[in-house]
Amino acid sequence: MQHTVIDRTEHAAEGVVSLLLRGTTGPLAPWEPGAHVDLSLPNWLTRSYSLCGDPADEEHYRVAVRHDPLSRGGSEYIHHYLRPGRALQVSLPRNHFPLLPAPRYLFLAGGIGITPLLPMLSAAVAADIPAGLVYVGRSASAMPFAEELRSRHGGRVRLVATREDGRPDLTALASDLAPGTLVYCCGPAPMIAAAQAAFPAGQLHTERFRPAARVFPENTPFDAVCARSGRTVPVPADQSLLDALNRAGLPVPGGCREGVCGSCELTVLSGGPEHRDDIGAPKGRMYACVSRALTPELVIDL
């Protein structure tokens, strides 16, 4: 956990506030474009937000939060009650959406999905790598950082206001794509689905804010063998691995509890994890909040 204080809040667009957080105990942990942090809110909720400031600024993190009309208490709380001067605990940055080396980039942002792509575009431009951004939103006033992007990156940025222009034709974008281009897309579920239909899987990297709607096989019980502590924790069908470990007194942090934020990452030593997360667990890792086991036993490094 890192200690910060809210230095400034700004209206970034209709229903979007950006928070500038300043570290209060020395420089903040370094991060790379695509990274996110968890904010521990005063109402006990933990919420993940992409860092959208400048990675070179060791004193500050910037996040932007859209007020979700169906808020469960995270974004609504931030909008109504977080004001400059308030102390806020922030996790270390994690990155499930890193910018891999490529000769060219195409960034696709939908609404608040602009946040992880903002520092990516800056990094590509700074490294002199050809990059373009297609930024889709309902209307210009609902698109955070549109002005900032236009003034900093000019012709590299194409703003698409769906209310006037309709949705962009991703298939046309895909057919014009130069070989080797990597596509980074962050936005609402329909946009991710459209990108997955348009671009080859090997070229596309996506990040979601909420889990994709999917149907999983029925839960089965399994045993979590904790190699370091020498304990075996049974995980019943009606309980998550995360809850079972916590109940057994083995603390594993939880965040979103829906396979998006990655705070409950575990190292799997043997056995077959059944991945149900939306992060795309790297080899040998799993997310205890949603993922289960294909084998009767999972050996984890805990």
């Binding site: 005063p42 109402n43 006990w44 909720l45 169906l70 808020s71 469960r72 208490g73 609504e76 709380y77 109504h80 009650y81 009606d238 309980q239 998550s240 809850d243 109940r247 509890r257 829906e258 909040c289 949603v290």
Partner: protein
């Protein structure tokens, strides 16, 4: 242990009013008919409330409700929504509301002496947009209670001051109580080990959503 039933003297309602005197104009004026920004802030920070309902005959019931702060959602100035989390499945509140839609709520914030009182009428809903706002730990409640607010006001903190409710030292009172398992067994002359009941309860406390 049997005793004759104790029946203290009944004071008539008229006499009660006479003895207490009339309420201050200020006290009556503090009652609003809606959830303004200050009440909203209170609700956003409250993890616990008591919910009172009654059946058609006026037989009353009061039950505790709790979750993370702000678990009661303010849908608009006149409307609240509260998740129905897993409980004892007695559904006393729902059964009462089917006959009599009146509700009284008392919101508490740990550490704060004043409480928020909200009275109104309520009904059960399964509206997806309401339940979506209550999605917790991968689960949504089956039902929520919609509360149409008739009156809302801050209740002064004397009761909490007198009760030392938020004084950490007050928690020593819990040590004076036998476990629920021990009490249940004594109450119903059961022959099982009280540990079985206590362990069962502990187990249930792990299934909160």
């Amino acid at each position: 242990m049997t005793h004759a039933r104790v029946r203290p003297r009944r004071v008539s309602p008229a006499e009660v009013r006479e003895r207490l005197g009339t309420p201050d104009a200020l006290v009556e004026a503090k009652i609003l008919d809606r959830i303004d920004e200050h009440f909203r802030r209170f609700i956003a920070h409250s993890p616990f409330l008591t919910l009172a309902t009654a059946d058609a005959a006026g037989r009353a019931d009061c039950s505790p409700r709790g979750d993370y702060p702000g678990f009661v959602k303010v849908l608009d100035e006149h409307t609240l929504a509260m998740p129905d989390r897993p409980g004892n499945k007695l559904a006393d509140s729902f059964r009462n509301l089917a006959e009599n839609d009146g509700v009284g709520m008392c919101f508490l914030i740990p550490g704060l002496r004043e409480t928020l009182r909200v009275n109104g009428s309520a009904y059960a809903t399964d509206e997806p947009d309401v339940l979506a706002r209550m999605h917790t730990e991968g689960r949504e409640p089956e039902l929520a209670l919609v509360i149409e607010v008739a009156e809302a006001y801050f209740h002064c903190g004397r009761a909490l001051v007198r009760s030392r409710l938020w004084d950490p030292a007050s928690q020593a009172l819990a040590d004076e109580m036998p476990s629920v398992g021990e009490m249940t067994i004594a109450q119903h002359n059961l022959t099982i080990d009280p540990e079985v009941i206590d362990a069962g309860l502990e187990e249930a406390y792990h299934t909160l959503y």
